[in-house]
């Protein structure tokens, strides 16, 4: 209960801060000369991508530990992280084409980075569908842990795909071994946005974890009809 309430407060705060990021990005961050205003999609697209991928890595780590320890908290966390990661994956897959159209001249290209990101989204969907399809809690946790580990293995391929294949997608300009290739004002806005997306991830996961816990308590009390879909 406490976790659920804390998650709601953190999410509320993060949404307020997101409004601040919107104001800073749209009104107080310089316009990039080559790409124009469309470049400002970067401040939402990249933090969402980082958290969609990190969420899957955390699902995988929790899943590995679950298979050894059988601790239901790890399974609950993996389920929460997967649902939130799926939300961020939807953001990447909508903002990406909207950015791509004016810059590349096409909404979509079947190159490695884009296709692997679509696979990540489909893996999230498969993971969530699997959790809803299996009713036995032990089997559900075990099967989804295996799928979660497969998802984690996919993430490095997404990140390094721009080095491994010829692709329309640009190389990383922030997450790379050398220093970020961004002017300080743009970097500050991006870091603010990354901080807000981090807070959103934490708030969402705390709420989703709390909901799963609540559902389990209701099921133990013999009331399985409420809070469905939180498995």
């Amino acid at each position: 209960m406490k976790l659920l309430r804390a998650g709601q407060w953190i999410t509320g705060l993060a949404l307020l801060l997101l409004a601040g990021v919107y104001v800073r990005a749209l009104a107080f961050t310089p316009v990039e000369r080559m790409q124009g205003l469309a470049q400002k999609i970067f401040y939402l697209h990249v933090p969402a991508a980082i958290w969609a991928e990190t969420a899957m890595i955390l699902v995988g780590i929790a899943s590995v530990f679950y298979l050894f320890l059988k601790d239901p908290r790890l399974d609950r966390f993996a389920a929460a992280s997967a649902e939130v990661g799926a939300v961020f994956a939807v953001i990447i897959l909508t903002t990406g084409p909207i950015w791509g159209k004016p810059i590349w001249g096409t909404w979509w290209s079947w190159d490695a980075r884009l296709t692997l990101t679509l696979f990540l989204f489909l893996l999230y969907m498969g993971y969530l569908l699997l959790r809803n399809a299996v009713s036995d809690p032990g089997e559900r946790a075990r099967f989804s842990a295996v799928l979660g580990i497969c998802g984690m293995v996919l993430v490095p391929f997404i990140h390094f795909s721009v080095y491994m294949f010829r692709t329309l997608h640009p190389m990383p300009i922030v997450l790379k071994p050398s220093s970020p290739s961004l002017p300080p004002a743009m970097l500050a806005t991006w870091l603010m946005s990354l901080g807000v997306f981090t807070l959103l991830y934490v708030g969402f996961v705390m709420q989703r974890y709390g909901l799963s816990y609540l559902r389990e308590q209701l099921e133990l009390a013999g009331d399985g009809g409420r809070g469905r879909g939180e498995g």
């Binding site: 949404l15 749209l26 205003l37 999609i41 939402l44 903002t95 950015w99 959103l200 879909g229």
Partner: protein, 39 residues
């Protein structure tokens, strides 16, 4: 003289869609919590 591309509509669309997705998900979690906590 070099001109900056006029593509502000794409930026506005991306910001509106992202806001709608995040607010929608936050609302969905809130409603699910309220339904689960109903006595």
């Amino acid at each position: 003289m070099e001109t900056v591309p006029q593509n502000g509509g794409f930026m506005i669309a991306a910001y509106i869609i992202t806001g709608a997705i995040l607010l929608g998900y936050a609302l969905s979690l809130y409603l699910r919590a309220r339904r689960s906590l109903r006595p």
